[in-house]
């Protein structure tokens, strides 16, 4: 499997995701945002960070980058596209995924481990979570409060496009287990064809027991087996 990680000015989880991909023997290349074309890849990752300082709106300026045309083409052709944190914000700004990520409800940056209930397993990112459907991953964001109008949310629900919801250890989903105010506790969503996943939590930060867990590894294992 081959992957490309797009590096924007201000990306800062680009190395972390590269380390994770390589750990699972995915052949990875770093692609500069200003490059004219995307090399052939099975998976493209938009990493976390603060592209363009998160100035104006998170993900907004990165979504206007040169390389994005190719990334969009890649996704339209059914290629896998994963946006983590800032990457998710970029995906909503490009319109590849619906909705928008607003500031956290408490108006402060939130960095901690949270529990997630995996809602959709039938996609190439998540099928491994069948064995473990409540997982723990770190979040670290200031704008992770997912918002979409009722119509959009209903569409996501009706078509089973919600990938993860914030929950507690037992998998209960309610207001108390919602760290940032997201509609319906949404932590990650898929597109219709389920080849694009946008998520706020960071699977690449939990791939090793010394880092207090390996629930992130399951996603990379899903990808290589798919």
């Amino acid at each position: 499997m081959k992957s490309s990680v797009i590096v924007f000015p201000g990306s800062n989880c680009d190395r972390d995701i590269a380390v994770a991909l390589e750990k699972f023997q995915i052949k990875n290349q770093m692609i500069w945002h200003n490059d004219a074309s995307l090399p052939k890849s099975d998976l493209v990752v938009l990493p976390g960070g603060f592209s363009y300082g998160d100035y104006l709106r998170t993900g907004c300026i990165a979504s206007k980058s040169k390389i994005l045309d190719d990334v969009i083409k890649h996704a339209k052709n059914g290629g896998l596209l994963l946006g983590i944190c800032n990457g998710f914000q970029i995906l909503t700004e490009t319109g590849l995924l619906p909705g928008v990520l607003l500031r956290n409800k408490k108006l402060r940056f939130l960095s901690k481990n949270v529990f997630l209930k995996v809602i959709n397993f039938n996609n190439r990112f998540c099928h491994n979570y069948k064995k473990k459907d409540t997982i723990e991953l770190p979040i670290a964001h200031n704008e992770g409060n997912y918002f979409a109008n009722e119509k959009e949310i209903k569409k996501l629900e009706d078509n089973d496009l919600i990938a993860f919801k914030y929950s507690d250890k037992e998998g209960n989903i309610n207001e108390n287990t919602n760290p940032n105010g997201s509609s319906q506790n949404i932590a990650g969503i898929l597109n219709n064809k389920k080849n694009i996943l946008g998520m706020m939590p960071h699977p690449e930060r939990l791939i090793d027991p010394l880092l207090s867990g390996e629930d992130g590894s399951l996603m990379f294992e899903s990808l290589i087996k798919s």
Partner: protein, 75 residues
Amino acid sequence: MIVTLKKEVLDPQGKVVSQTLKNMGYDNITNVRQGKHFDIELNETDKEKAKKAVEEICKKLLSNVVIEDYTINLK
């Protein structure tokens, strides 16, 4: 140019500000909403053209139509 959140979108910042003001004793504050303000200097003498350009900029970059409205104010 002012970009504001649509009415139906929750504005947590505005809420906090108005709450704080109430705590400070300003009881007559009924609502606060926070938005962004842009001061754009344009090298364009034709007012109509300038307005058009700014409109375009707003739509393409400065606002997200999913959640925001904008108003333009030419000087």
